[in-house]
Symmetry: C2
Subunit: 345 residues, 2 copies
Amino acid sequence: MKTSCPLPKFDFDVITLGHGGGGLLTHRLLQNGVFDILGNDLLDQQHDGASFPLSGNVAFSTDSYVISPFIFPGGNIGELAVNGTVNDLAMCGAIPKYLSLSFIIEEGLSMSDFFQVLLSIKQAAHKAEVKIVTGDTKVVEQGKGDKLFINTSGIGIIHPGASIHHKRIKPGDQIIVSGCIATHGIAIMSVRKGLEFETTIVSDTVNLNHTITGLLDRFGNDIKFLRDPTRGGIASVLNEVAELTRLGFSIDQNNLPIMEQVEGACEMLGLDPLYVANEGIFIAIVNRNVATDFLAQLNADSNGTEAAIIGEVTLDHPGKVVMKSRIGGKRVVNFLTGDQLPRIC
Amino acid sequence: MKTSCPLPKFDFDVITLGHGGGGLLTHRLLQNGVFDILGNDLLDQQHDGASFPLSGNVAFSTDSYVISPFIFPGGNIGELAVNGTVNDLAMCGAIPKYLSLSFIIEEGLSMSDFFQVLLSIKQAAHKAEVKIVTGDTKVVEQGKGDKLFINTSGIGIIHPGASIHHKRIKPGDQIIVSGCIATHGIAIMSVRKGLEFETTIVSDTVNLNHTITGLLDRFGNDIKFLRDPTRGGIASVLNEVAELTRLGFSIDQNNLPIMEQVEGACEMLGLDPLYVANEGIFIAIVNRNVATDFLAQLNADSNGTEAAIIGEVTLDHPGKVVMKSRIGGKRVVNFLTGDQLPRIC
């Protein structure tokens, strides 16, 4: 994400091992840089952790981000790390509130890249209405990391209407995907492989929490299951839930939203879009009775304009995901074996 | 930490990129390994995050661990990652409850090393009485990481008697260190440099939460400040708090507990023990009236047998740390410049 904010001035052009040593350089980097950008009442406590009152049912989630390249079409690792954990909390039926932020930096990372990432983190946190309240910075020697890894962990409050659990899924429930699949993975792969398209394919990284809250407000416990299909794609999510529930999951390829360019790129790269990573979409499994209204609300949301009902839960083929292809044949969609797209998030 | 538990059988001797792909290999590693070892009612929810009820004032902390070597005299990165975050929460005056656990693994890490670390995590969590409730596993290519990095984030409940804040520190308050300084740093450095001593110097990594709870139970708000002096050593902690409070911090070298072998190793390596990392000790700043009783309780605890009052807070030299040396001279103890011991935690 581009920004016109001026960056703070530092004596160093790059991050050095000393910036992770806990001494003067660490202190200056935090005081004159990180805290200035991300500061808020809780982060400013500057203790080993943040303290705040909390009550209710909470969700707690963590993810480390190792995406390569760490600056990519449509974003960078900073906003990805905020949106990713915000979305994981939202998928638990929670309203995300507080994030921690931990950097593992390879010595030599340019200070301007680091601050570009920090600014993206600030903007993403602002948009998602979460506070970065505590953090950590480590630096490793050149060749012992890869520019920048980020961990975010997060705490959210479970929405009072939410009752998300795979055990609540029943035959007849409808499977909805909130947007075009495989966009993030192909945006990253196209940079890695030097592919060019008529228009640039950009990552779909976005915070989904406000969209989810709106759906939970209205549909409450008719929403049985939510999950963002990041690495491993929608095939992996559906296989996991099929295995957990021992129910069958039938999807129809005709209904799968995918951008034409992304589909073309998948063909060119020999990738099955069902397995390609996403960042800005989710899968919802909802009571059949509300599926049409749920879809209508989603389609009216900027994060769900391409949402579609892609299939349903069935008693047939328990534990398996089966897809009806465009030409009418059926095939079992298995778990991904190996890793077709390493370091996609 | 040695263990005699049998390790699960895997088709692979090492972690591959596929184990981080979100597909079948990731699924198997989690189902047949990680969940078996670390499983509990909350982790077993197997969602994008864990959900549980919580109420009160909470503390939230995060740290990434990049120590090299990741298996070292006295422990490994697994227990270090549990104890480190448990201790950070304790230093906030909290009773640690829930941890997240996130791995960044370099492709090629041996499966047996990974499971040795997992078993240490299990044991450390058990000892500290915390639950690992949510996690993440990423794998990066060879040469893009260094065997194993771990992030733990944690949630604790603030002890009802705790009132830890640097703003409460007053002149006359006593500075206490709970044990011998510089042990962890020297244990790691002696392995890196191939130093041999008569007896092996081992890391002091340990969970301090039960010790802290006992002190908070009795001394409550007479405890003004707690901090574990990890990287940067006690000099960095005292400088940070001196800068925050604009008070002076006077310490007496004669009272600083340090093992003879550790002091000898510091001389040999040209390191000042004030700046060397610790893992199993803390600095407490307490009301002068309770200092003797506080010390007595600490000395009776296995984590505080070597505890000592090392100095006091003063109106002299505001914002500075001054040490009276063994031969009676005084010197300003500055912030560490650079990083004398990279990747010590």
